[in-house]
């Protein structure tokens, strides 16, 4: 089965010092880009891809893959340290990651995020290498009705991040869905809520709004409600203690679940890390023994979110290598870069250039190990961020946010969205409305709308399409189960823990549910 000349060719590619150098450079640059809010992996890869046209394929492609991986991981760093997700995929990591930082455990959070990312990425890469073809042939059966149901399942995760007040959570999510309606109607091209404004035709840009809601509102909160000296001087050690092996080891079911989920979602063309992180987070909370700790610095929550979004990276390559179809926007750019090297990704690449493909797989595995090394090195410095006085740190964060928000679309209008998001986020925090549901609504709204309306075109307006197809029937049952489970948990009388056999019969500490 294994052709040794292919193995040799692949390994030779890896042995080249230039490949290694390009990979390391890409990875370091990627971590930096991901860590800067607003600079996304997609943009970095798209901007740098034309330069790889002039390079050898064994240098250019590993360089781009390094950036891609580095940027997805890098997004979690500012999410943890300053509550500003560097990329949309890291939004879920900000909840528990930043809570840990506030408790003086930033080092632990950073290490956990790194380890979960690397482990998830490693497992997903093995899946890509071993079962790409069977997985892809299942994934391609997913049509619009299945996507609509997957989006609905993801939307139910709002319940898990709404905190104590479900009504406020629903209101925030509804607002997010409404904001998502702004812009050109995806099917008919009709202008909705644009008030004649050209910039609104494209809708409200997600990333500037998200940076505003998370980062700007955080800065405003720091201005008006400075923390009561809980983490100024006198910190035992900068960044707090390390992550203990035992703490990581007990998380293995959580990480395994998140990884499988992220791998599967990533293999569906069109679904990316932004949605995987929230479903993984919600799933982990649902299965957790201490769901009340989620949002308050739960290691499980952070590990789930990070494993979920990083597992998407290798598996998004599955539709690309098997069918030549982009798994997400970044792989679309990668396909372009591969084509410029004279290689058509897809069924023909496997037949015509298996050595290169094998080399790519090896590169992916090596990138992971490098990520671990780079990450550990970066954490030694990053944990010092918490020592920076807020009077210095926050103006810097503000500057980066403004630059990042502008960079997304080179649009000055996006700066207004940033400011608007900051103001709205501040008001929501002051009045106890959770921000996460709004972001989820905004993120999933457009995809859900398109999938739903496409399904109804398929079926000529009949809703039966959601249960007449075998896969969608399964998903529909899953959706009902998820809602039933959430309702059962929510309606369960307080203190009735005896009915919950795996909760260790522990009394919930805080009656109002914990999250805020």
């Amino acid at each position: 089965m294994i052709d040794f000349s292919i193995l040799q060719q692949g390994l030779a590619m890896l042995a080249s010092p230039w490949t290694f150098l390009a990979l390391s450079g890409g990875l370091a640059g990627g971590i930096l880009i991901g860590a800067l809010p607003g600079l996304t992996a997609t943009m970095a890869v798209a901007v740098l891809a034309p330069f790889t046209f002039f390079m050898d394929a064994t240098i250019g492609i590993p360089f781009l893959l390094g950036i891609y991986k580095g940027a997805i991981y890098g997004g979690s760093i500012p999410a943890i340290l300053v509550n500003t997700p560097g990329t949309a995929a890291a939004a879920a990591s900000a909840r528990d990651g930043y809570a840990l930082t506030l408790q003086g455990k930033s080092r632990k959070a950073l290490e956990l995020s790194l380890f979960s990312s690397v482990v998830a990425d490693l497992m997903a890469t093995l899946v890509l290498i071993v079962v790409a073809i069977p997985l892809a042939s299942i994934a391609i059966r997913f049509g619009s009705p299945e996507f609509a149901l997957l989006y609905l399942i993801a939307l139910t995760m709002i319940a898990t991040v709404s905190g104590g007040n479900a009504a406020k959570g629903l209101a925030a999510a509804g607002l997010g869905l409404l904001v998502a309606c702004i812009g050109l109607d995806p099917m008919s091209g009709y202008q909705r809520f644009t008030f004649g404004n050209t910039d609104l035709l494209a809708g409200v840009s997600l990333i500037p709004l998200m940076i505003g809601m998370f980062a700007l509102s955080e800065i405003l909160m720091q201005l008006t409600h400075p923390p009561e000296g809980q983490q100024t001087a006198g910190d035992v050690e900068h960044g707090g203690e390390r992550l203990r092996w035992a703490e990581f080891w007990v998380l293995r079911p959580t990480i395994l679940r998140s990884t499988s989920l992220g791998t599967f979602l990533g293999s569906l063309p069109g679904l990316g890390a932004e949605i995987a992180c929230w479903i993984a987070y919600g799933l982990a909370r649902g299965r957790s023994r201490e769901p009340e700790r989620f949002g308050e610095g739960s290691l499980e929550g952070l590990a789930a979110a990070e494993a979920g979004n990083n597992a998407v990276v290798p598996s998004a390559l599955i539709p690309m290598t098997v069918f030549g179809i982009p798994g997400d926007t970044i792989t679309a750019v990668l396909i372009g870069a591969l084509m410029a090297q004279g290689m058509m990704p897809g069924p023909l690449l496997i037949q015509q250039n298996p050595g290169f493909l094998f080399g790519l797989f090896m590169v992916l595995l090596v990138t992971n190990l490098l990520l671990l090394v780079f990450g550990l090195f970066a954490i030694r410095w990053l944990k010092q961020v918490t020592r920076i006085p807020h009077a210095v740190l926050y103006p810097c964060v503000l500057l980066l946010c403004v630059c990042g928000a502008y960079a997304v679309n080179s649009s000055t209008f996006d700066l207004l969205i940033l400011v608007f998001g900051g103001g709205a986020g501040y008001l929501m925090r002051r009045t106890g409305f959770p921000i996460a549901p709004l972001i989820i609504g905004l993120l999933l709204g457009p995809g859900f709308e398109s999938a739903l309306r496409q399904s109804l075109v398929f079926s000529n307006g009949s809703l039966a399409i959601f249960w007449s197809r075998p896969i969608s029937l399964v998903l529909l049952c899953l959706l009902v189960l998820v809602i039933a489970f959430l309702a059962w948990r929510g309606l369960k009388p307080k203190g009735a823990t005896l009915r919950l056999p795996w909760s260790r019969r522990k009394k919930p500490h805080n009656a109002n549910g914990g999250d805020s």
Binding site: G25, P50, Q454
Partner: protein, 322 residues
Amino acid sequence: MNHKTLPLTLLSASLAAASLTAASTVLAQESHLPDEPIRFVTPYPAGGSHSLHAGIITAVGEEFLGRSLISVIRGGGGGAVAAAEVAGSTPDGTMLLFGDPTINSLRPQVEDLPYEMDDFVPVARINYSPAIFVTTPEQPFQTIGELVEHAGDHPDEVIYSSDNRNGFTYTVFEMLKGAADVEMRGVELGGGGPAVTQLLGGNTMAYAGAPSVVGEHLEAGTLTGLCVTDIERQEAYPDIPTCQEEGYDVVFQFWRGVMAPAGTPDEVVAELSDGFERMTQNEGFLRLISQIGSDIQFQGHEAFAESLAAEQAALREAYLGE
């Protein structure tokens, strides 16, 4: 920190060296262009064929235009956002739109958009590609005639992958439906990637797309070509007839071209047009373009203006019956 920046420095140094050798022959002649970089605006999100072409053009363009080119990727509103922005920019040749028929000929006529067709002057057509109607080998029809017959026997039951309302695929299917007088239903999926996915997954029955999107699947046999919307057969796919040969008058050439805002001085348009012409004759440029499965059908600003006016008139007739 140092050992992290080193590889980056090395890499950027080699990049700089590569681009320097390419740009060693900057033209010395007098120029009408302002002495600042040209912003080359791609109106679609990164990853499509537009951004791929723009990446190559902006990477090599400086040598031929005498100004560096900055690639601005500005998606949204199916291209309308970027088009409106370029239309409203200072008309001095420093901001150019990478346009196409849907943005510059069709949508301003049939939709209420924040820019008009006349807000642009044509500078240069880079190339065009026709659409190839395709289906999967599992479908009951394997020629364009059988497709039309099947659609005639089962009105509104043939579901095809479409891209966007008034997009490339959308338009050629509208033309086919008009030419053959049949009813079929299109699902707007937003782009070529998802459209092919849904077709391969058996959720839709047909599609029409550029050779760069469907070509590999035609070679691998996972898709069957029905007919091509050009006036002659494609060199790469000599077995696929044109739609006209099969008796359906569907001709649509999806061009990619450089547009400047209206009011740009004629000598600037002419200078840019000449610059792009020299670029499209360059061997290195042609090699890169052929590597992304594309080629060049250049038209200078005068010829392009004529063919553009003809296309706009034809679409007005097809859609509005004027």
